[in-house]
Each structure stands twice: as C-alpha cells, then as structure tokens.
C-alpha cells in the first residue's frame, strides 16, 4: 500500500470543487505516504473528466467506463472502485461526504475491510500513520481517528476543508480499467431535480427563521427577501418545520442539514442545542432575538436584542440601500 487515490466527482461535466480540494490535499498526503497521487473516474464516458483530473495533478487517472455506469449505483461504482484499488493499492482513498459519497464510501470500506472516517475536516500523515479529524455529536466533540496499519483507509471529506489543487499539471497518464462482472441489484429508474431545491450546504449565506417570527406568513414575508438581498438561501429551525411552516428541506440542525456558511443569520431562533449542532461552525453568525438570554447569542458574532418582525424589514432595507441591490 502506498499513496492516495481520489474519487473524482463531476459537477456540470467538470471536476467538482470538492475533488479539486482532495487532489490538493492528496498531493501532500501522498508525498508523506511515499507514494503517488492517483485518481479514479467512473461513468459511461468519463474521458473528459479524466483529462481534467490529470490537469489537477493526478499521476495516474484510472478510468472505468461502462454503459452500465451512466448513473451512480452502489454495486456498479463500488465494483469499479475496487478494480482501481487493486490496480493502485492505495493507503488512503479520498472522496467527498455528500449522501451519495457516504453510500459509496461506507460500502467500499465495508468491502475492503478498510478504516473509515466520514465528515473529515482534517487529515495527517505522521511517521507513515494516517489520522483523520472529524466532528461528531453536533460539533460538540472533535474526534481524532487512527487506523490499523495494514488496511487501507477511506476518508470522506467535508467541503471547504482544504485548498483546491492548482491546474496546469502535466506528465500524468490515463489508465483504462474494465468493470468487473457485477450484478446491479439497486437500479436507478429515474432522477428528477427537487422542486425548489435549496442546496443549503453549498450556500455562502443562510438566513434562518424560528418561532420568534410568530407565524408562517411572517416567515415568508421576512426571511426570503433578506436571503435574496444577501444572495443566500433560507433555512429554518426544527420547531417551525415540525409546525408545518416550512418544508423539511430547509431545516438546519441535528435532524436536518449541517451548514457552515460565511454568514448565518438566525432570526427569531432561540438556539436550542439541536439547532446549534447544525450551524455552530458558520464563520460569522448574526443573531436577532427578543430574549437577551437566548442561547443563540452565545455563538453569535453579532447580536441584536429585538423583535425580529421589526428588525428584519429594517435590516433588509438597509442592506439593499448600502449594497445597491
């Protein structure tokens, strides 16, 4: 075992940002492990993606192309990855931490009897040993994982954990691998975009509302306009999702989405521990609440004590004026 194998995800036909991050960090880790930085592309026709991965610094890009690999399936993609693992014999396999990648990575690790760390925010190699850092318990515990030495490690990495690899690398090669005979037991019948899909996990700004807004009408009157002014998405506390004001898609917290935007505005959200679990790692937090003792103020960068129904329209107006929007 030596080096690193990065599973390349695509976004709109290009190497996804998370994969560029993994190629960036992977280069450093591969050197520390005394092996190459390799990559894996899987699909019906992943040649374009493979060429791009070379450009971002992979030494060998293993390409598994098969008409049965048009859409992600656990059986097909794990079989493809195992063929690449056999060819590359990596010490560390890196992929993102989206739902699909969790399905993929946990399955691959189970098949390989490998180490597994999900939601990784940092990776180190010291004296040839890999360690991974991941939060758990809603961010209240930061875990360091270590692994037995004779097994590969699968690490699924949270977005925006590492710097992206620069492009312009040269000298790598593409190696085609054929898909081993595989029975695909879970087949994709169709894919549709979620209506009104909010990719909260990708948003740079999130404006969330809670019970302090008094009712559903106020939520829609006050939260989306502010989110729009800031070019962001809108979220919600569990309380108002459970009350039926806002669809579950928008829920931030322990049983909803975990987000880490540049700016998180919590409006009328008290800051129950299960909500904090989903947003406490946001870079900046603005809290607006009429209760000065609300726990949300303990994690806030800036806090305003006041009625959200009065403060929010003023805030939206002031931002529109000052930002010229």
């Amino acid at each position: 075992m030596a080096g690193v194998l990065v599973y390349i995800e695509q976004a709109g036909g290009n190497v996804a940002a998370i994969s560029r991050e993994l190629l960036g960090k992977g280069k450093e880790l591969a050197a520390a492990l005394g092996g190459p930085l390799n990559a894996l592309v899987v699909g019906a026709n992943p040649t374009g993606l493979a060429e791009q991965a070379l450009n971002f610094g992979a030494a060998t890009v293993y390409s598994v192309a098969d008409s049965s690999l048009e859409a992600y399936t656990t059986d097909g993609y794990v079989a493809a990855a195992k063929a690449a693992v056999e060819a590359a014999n990596p010490a560390l396999i890196l992929a993102g931490a989206s739902f699909q990648m969790r399905d993929f990575g946990a399955s691959l690790a189970a098949d390989l009897d490998a180490g597994l760390a999900v939601d990784v925010v940092d990776l180190k190699v010291e004296g040839g040993a890999i360690s991974a850092t991941r939060p758990s318990h809603g961010g209240n515990v930061i875990n360091s994982f270590s692994f037995v030495p004779d097994k590969p490690v699968v690490a699924l990495v949270r977005k925006q954990s590492f710097a992206e690899a620069p492009d312009g690398a040269s000298g790598g090669k593409i190696q085609s691998l054929s898909l081993p005979a595989t029975t695909i037991r879970t087949k994709v019948q169709g894919v549709s975009a979620k209506s009104g899909a909010v990719n909260l996990t990708d948003a740079a700004v999130i404006v969330s509302g809670g019970r302090g807004l008094s009712d559903k009408d106020n939520y829609y009157k006050l939260i989306p306009p502010l989110a729009e002014t800031l070019g962001g998405a809108y979220g919600a506390s569990r309380a108002i999702v459970d009350a039926g004001w806002v669809p579950y898609e928008h829920q931030v917290g322990q049983t909803g989405k975990t987000v880490s935007p540049k700016l998180y505005v919590a409006a009328g959200v008290s800051g129950a521990i299960q909500h904090l679990a989903g947003m406490r790692t946001s870079r900046n937090i603005v809290a607006i609440n009429k209760d000065p003792e609300a726990p949300i103020f303990r994690v806030a960068t800036f806090g305003i004590v006041g009625d959200v129904n009065e403060v929010l329209p003023l805030l939206t107006e002031e931002l529109q004026r000052r930002l010229g929007r």
């Binding site: 399905d103 322990q254 299960q274 305003i304 006041g306 000052r322």
Partner: protein, 258 residues
C-alpha cells in the same frame, strides 16, 4: 415477510462530555431511540401491516435500553432482539455492522431491514450501507418514500432524497433501506399497548451466540476534545431598532462579511 428495524440508543441532545478514557460521557442526558430510527420503525410497521409476518426490532446495547425496545414493541413490533456483550463496547461502525449482520443471518428469514439515515450522535450514515454490503444485499439509502414492497416478486421501489435531486430506484430483496426524517409520521404507542408489553424482556444474543470471536476494529479513537470556543461575540446596541440595524450593517461591511 420478516422485516427487521435496527435501533440505536442515543442521548436526547448532544451536550455530552468526554471521559478521561475518551469515551463519551452522556450522564444526566435522557437516552432515547435515535430520531431517524423512529421513522424506520414506522416505515417497518406500514409494510408489516400490509404484508403480515414478523417485525423484529433489533438493537445493540445494555439492559437500560430495554425500556426503549418496549416502546418499539408498543408501537407494533412483534419481536425484539438485544445484542449484548462486553466485546461490543468499543466497536467502530463497520464492526458494529458485522455483528448486526451476523444476527440477521442467524434470524435466517429476513427480507427487509430498515435503519435511520444516521444516528444523531455519531452522524456518519455508514451503518446501513456497511450492513448491506456485509450481508451481500441490495441497499437504498436516504429513502424519503418507499413506493412499493412486493414480497412475491422480491422487489421494492423507493425514492432516494439526495441533496439536490430525487432518485427513483428499484431493488431486489433482501435489502437494507435507510430512511430520512420526512418519510412518515411515527405513531405514538397507546397506553394499553405500553401496559401490554411492560413485562416483555427481549431475548439477548452474545458474541458467542453469534459465533463471533475477537473483534479488532480497523478504526479507533486516538483523541477526543471539545471544539475550540467561538470568539466571544458583540451585542449591537442602540436607542432603537433602526439604530441597531444601521450599526450592524456598518460592522458587516467593515468586516467584509457582506
């Protein structure tokens, strides 16, 4: 058909502490069924009611867990099973999946397993896929709607609710399905049913019962620390809401936050 629902015991909230031996200290926090597993129980009940047979709730844990297993029985599960052994104490997720897989294999006639999408304490979502792979079964994770379970055709179809899209899949049985929060509304057990199951003690299987010897987890915890404290924030004050808002926007612009 025989449906199994996997349950995990978790603290109600995550305000946990870290013991000197790096284990999690959840003293004083109520232990509950992992929230996503409640949806798994309900989904299991829906298909059990349609197709009959058995619905077994299966969990790994200690005797203090029996109360919650009874709650699942009161909701309508027909059978329960507790996997308990000192050897199960420090397992990583993949090793835990191996133990549960051994129990499901020992049950012998299981067609379908429901799990929650992840536990609210560990939050990895690795258990269901690892269980499916260890069993050598089909899987459908992050399921927001089960469209059909057809025991005669040995097939199910379901919607997987991913971040930005919905995937409709069909899978062969036996299969492992992990469910998300808005798949259903878990029922509350009636007082009558709670009374009825109050004396039931789940059968207990140990590592020896499952034919499992020493388990060496591949992944171990080498350190655990609380998160670094957030830099202390600033309350923005002023004579009225407008003044506070103006001051806040000044600060957001000054610090290039917007």
């Amino acid at each position: 058909m025989h449906i199994v629902v996997c349950l995990k015991q978790v603290p109600r909230d995550n305000s946990v502490k870290i013991n000197p031996d790096l284990s999690i200290n959840a003293d004083g926090i109520e232990k509950i069924i992992n929230l996503f597993d409640e949806y798994a129980i309900e989904e299991g009940l829906v298909w059990h009611e349609k197709h009959g047979g058995k619905l077994t709730v299966l969990s790994m844990g200690s005797d203090e867990w029996v109360e919650q297993i009874r709650r699942a029985l009161a909701m309508g599960a027909t059978d329960s099973l507790l996997l308990k052994d000192a050897a199960f104490a420090k397992l990583d997720t993949l090793a835990a999946a191996k133990v549960v897989a051994a129990a499901i294999q020992k049950l012998g006639d299981v067609d379908l397993v429901f799990c929650g999408r992840n536990s609210t304490d560990d939050e990895s979502g690795a258990f269901a896929p690892a269980l499916a792979r260890t069993l050598g079964w089909a899987q459908a994770t992050y399921v927001g709607k089960v469209l059909e379970v057809d025991p005669a055709a040995q097939q199910l179809s379901a919607e997987r609710h991913l971040e930005g899209e919905i995937e409709t899949v069909s899978a062969s049985l036996p299969a492992v399905v992990s469910v998300i929060k808005d798949i259903n509304s878990p029922r509350y057990p009636s007082l009558l049913k709670i009374k009825k199951v109050a004396k039931i003690t789940p059968p207990v299987w140990s590592a020896a019962d499952l034919g499992i010897g020493t388990i060496t987890p591949v992944t171990t915890i080498s350190n655990r620390v609380p998160p670094p404290p957030r830099p202390s924030g600033e309350m923005v004050d002023g004579p009225d809401a407008a003044a506070k808002v103006k001051k806040l926007v000044d600060k957001l612009l000054e610090n290039q936050i917007v």
